[in-house]
């Protein structure tokens, strides 16, 4: 033991040196892009999906000759782990802007991290592309450098209710009562606030309004409350582990509802379907993107992604993938790595084609606040298709999976 003691200081010094070594090894002709996403901690699953999607896009872009307007410069992605912690996000942004001299930033998935981190970028005038972070106010602060690809949360809740009204009409089923069950975080409470207003306007009676702790280990009590309240329709915002628990427990407790409507997140997590199997039959989920989307390039991109990482693309990953192509396009247009020129290019951009354009709508096009005004949402239904659980697009009707008729109300097994 005594012999080992003198080694302590060198070991610590070595680890610190290894840490700083990363700075030195930057190659010459590259454009650096800083990505701040949750890679460890509770949101690691979704953060790693975003990282994989970015890597796939960067690989393709660099293999195809990089940024031509910059003499074939390659994209270099720097990743920082936010751990879902705003402080870490802010520090990482400072670090990447000042020390790594990134041309632009992307991230951060958790709205609570994106919110203060975009503020840092705004202060330095560095463009910040937000693939996904749903909180409304992110693009409502008059910032010049923030560009969001995903829809904001008021659009998600609006479309969930529009979908329900359309279904009522299409199938002649009257919906009277609704229940809201949501994780007690930034995301869930934001959605719930929107739902309450919309339910009132639509004339539905709210029979249950139940936040649950995101660290819950047993959701049976919540399910029993749903069973007691007997709502026609259940709205959910859940992360992966609670979406799995809720779905299985609802099925086990034989709670029969006319419809269950998820809000992406856990219900769209690639592991969700594998984990719940048949219990998910009939659940509706609102997402930005679905694998059955009928658009050139979608199948190929998904097949490639699945081959590389072993699971399908989902809304979050598609936004991250598209954002990388969007950045490439902006760099080509700007023909410079000057942040202000890139910002200008992003503000004027219309990304409608190319390998990155696998999103469900036509073009990415930002309004003056930096919100992608075309961002559209799709409602899917999970359906047992000859023994395998698949997601079928059902709403809007124009996007409905060819030949698929939604089951509404849900079949009661």
């Amino acid at each position: 033991m005594k012999i080992l003691r003198p080694m302590l200081v060198p070991v610590i010094a070595l680890t610190m040196a290894l840490g700083t070594l990363g700075v030195a090894q930057a190659a010459s002709k590259t454009v650096k892009i800083g990505n701040i996403i949750p890679l460890s901690g509770p949101s690691a699953s979704v953060g790693i999906q975003g990282k994989n999607a970015r890597e796939m896009a960067v690989q393709e872009i660099n293999d195809a000759g990089g940024i031509k307007a910059l003499g074939g410069a390659k994209l270099e992605m720097l990743y920082a782990d936010s751990k879902s912690d705003p402080t870490a996000g802010v520090s990482a942004a400072e670090q990447m802007i000042n020390s790594d001299k990134v041309a632009l930033l992307t991230g951060c998935w958790n709205s609570a991290v994106t919110y203060p981190t975009t503020q840092v970028a705004e202060r330095y005038g560095i463009p910040f592309v937000v693939p996904v972070s749903v909180r409304d106010t992110i693009t409502e602060r008059g910032f010049k450098n923030v560009f969001r690809i995903a829809a904001k949360d008021s659009w998600w809740t609006r479309d969930q209710f529009a979908f329900l009204k359309d279904m009522e009409k299409e199938f002649g089923t009257k919906i009277k009562t609704v229940a809201f069950v949501y994780e007690n975080g930034d995301w869930g409470t934001g959605f719930a606030a929107g739902w309450k207003k919309l339910a009132k306007a639509a004339g539905y009676k709210v029979v249950l309004d139940e936040p649950y702790p995101s660290t819950a280990s047993d959701l049976t009590p919540v399910v029993l409350k749903i069973k007691r309240a007997k709502p026609d329709v259940l709205f959910l915002t859940s992360n992966a582990s609670d979406a799995i628990l809720l779905t299985n427990t609802l099925a086990n407790m034989k709670v029969h509802l006319k419809a269950i409507i998820g809000s992406g997140g856990g219900h769209a997590d690639p592991t969700f379907l594998k984990a719940v199997g048949k219990n998910a039959d009939g659940i509706f989920d609102i997402v930005e993107w679905e694998t059955d989307l009928n658009k050139p390039g979608v199948k190929e991109a998904n097949a490639k992604f699945n081959k590389l990482y072993g699971y399908n693309l989902a809304g979050e990953a598609v936004d991250a993938y598209a954002s990388t192509y969007l950045i490439k396009e902006a760099l080509e247009k700007a023909a410079s790595t000057d942040p202000q020129k890139i910002r200008q290019a992003l503000a004027n951009i219309k990304l409608c084609s190319g390998p990155g354009a696998i999103f469900s709508y036509e073009c990415i096009d930002f309004d003056k606040d930096g919100q992608n005004k075309n961002a559209a949402l799709v409602v899917v239904q999970i359906h047992n298709d000859n023994g395998t659980m698949k997601r079928f697009s059902v709403w809007p009707k124009a996007a409905r999976h060819a030949g698929y008729t939604p089951t509404f109300p849900m079949a009661n097994k």
Partner: protein, 333 residues
């Protein structure tokens, strides 16, 4: 004679360190390095405040983030709702934290080590859950899990907002010097003497007629007051906070790590611990976090274990020894 010479050398050394600390913002222009330095001082300050209970009173508080949160929420709510300057709100938060600290401290400080640690942890977590469940208290907006946002006003002293990092640096440096001075004075006072006696051997101290719990509660009040000031600093620096970021267990644990790695119950321990762990944490997260998710925390855990195995009294012990040796070398030549 030797002690005298030592104390003279110490004075020179301290003066030099202080001079460097004051001059740093004039030399370093990189805001990201400034940010890391500010956070390092912030944690050195927090841990020094914690040290008054955790170091000298011989217990392990694991819920100090509660008091950071009380400070941040008090000053911010007063500012947002009544327009009260955060400088005054900071003091209000400090007083509130001290009062709550006393209320919590009176029953818990009588408890044995593990019970105290878990009780403070439960208090911290309970407060987080409470705040997450409260949207408004009467007319005051707490905003539950969504947290509070302070509007950007630009450079404004009265609003406790500055555009330059240097201003935040000097504020937290000043706070750190104040808490170090208070620690030093306290250690030399009767209270400090009683506390360290009670920390080492509560039964013997009680037998001598020292009311140890009373002094522990006093230390708790002072500690909570200063911890809350850091909450206001955090709020004004990031202009946004929410329950999980400021009331979570992570911060409570990190403070305890810094104290133990640095050397708890010493004046310099928290500062040295923060100087080692904070930059390490930042650099490994930024440069390793992206390559191998989780690797930086494995390294962090390894360092915790190694230091505890080889230097259970913290790194201040070998560093002080090294400093003495250098001093002798200089004097010898």
């Amino acid at each position: 004679m030797k002690a005298l010479a030592d104390s003279k050398a110490n004075k020179y050394f301290l003066a030099a360190v202080l001079l460097i600390a004051v001059l740093i913002p004039q030399v370093i222009t990189s805001p990201s390095i400034m940010q890391i330095l500010i956070l390092t001082l912030f944690y050195a300050y927090l841990t020094s405040s914690w040290n008054l209970v955790g170091g000298f009173a011989g217990v392990l508080p694991l819920g100090h983030s509660a008091f950071i949160g009380i400070g941040a929420y008090t000053s911010t709510i007063l500012y947002l709702h009544y327009g009260l300057s955060p400088w005054f709100g900071m003091l209000a938060g400090g007083v509130l934290a001290a009062v709550i600290g006393v209320i919590i401290g009176i029953p818990t400080l009588k408890l044995r080590g593990a019970y105290f640690a878990l009780a403070t942890m439960a208090f911290g977590e309970g407060l987080r859950v409470l705040v997450e469940n409260v949207d408004t208290i009467g007319p005051l907006k707490v905003n539950g899990p969504r947290g509070l946002l302070i509007n950007l006003t630009g450079n404004s002293f009265i609003d406790y907002q500055f555009t330059s990092k240097a201003s935040y640096y000097y504020i937290i440096l000043a706070l750190l010097l104040i808490i170090l001075l208070i620690t030093w004075l306290l250690m030399r006072s009767k209270i400090g003497y009683y506390l360290s006696a009670g920390g080492e051997d509560p039964e013997a101290a009680a037998a001598l007629g020292i009311n140890v719990p009373r002094y522990k509660v006093m230390a708790m009040a002072i500690s909570c007051f200063f911890t809350a000031l850091a909450g206001t600093f955090y709020a004004q620096m990031f202009l946004y906070f929410y329950p999980k970021s400021i009331l979570g267990l992570d911060m409570s644990f990190e403070i305890a790590f810094i104290a133990l790695i640095g050397g708890r119950g010493t004046i310099l321990g928290p500062v040295l611990g923060a100087l080692l762990l904070r930059p390490l944490n930042e650099f490994t997260r930024i440069y390793l976090g992206g390559i191998l998710p989780g690797m930086h925390l494995v390294i962090f855990g390894l360092i915790l274990i190694l230091v505890m195995i080889f230097q259970p009294r913290g790194i201040q012990e070998p560093l002080t020894r090294l400093y003495r040796r250098i001093l002798y070398r200089i004097k010898g030549s």
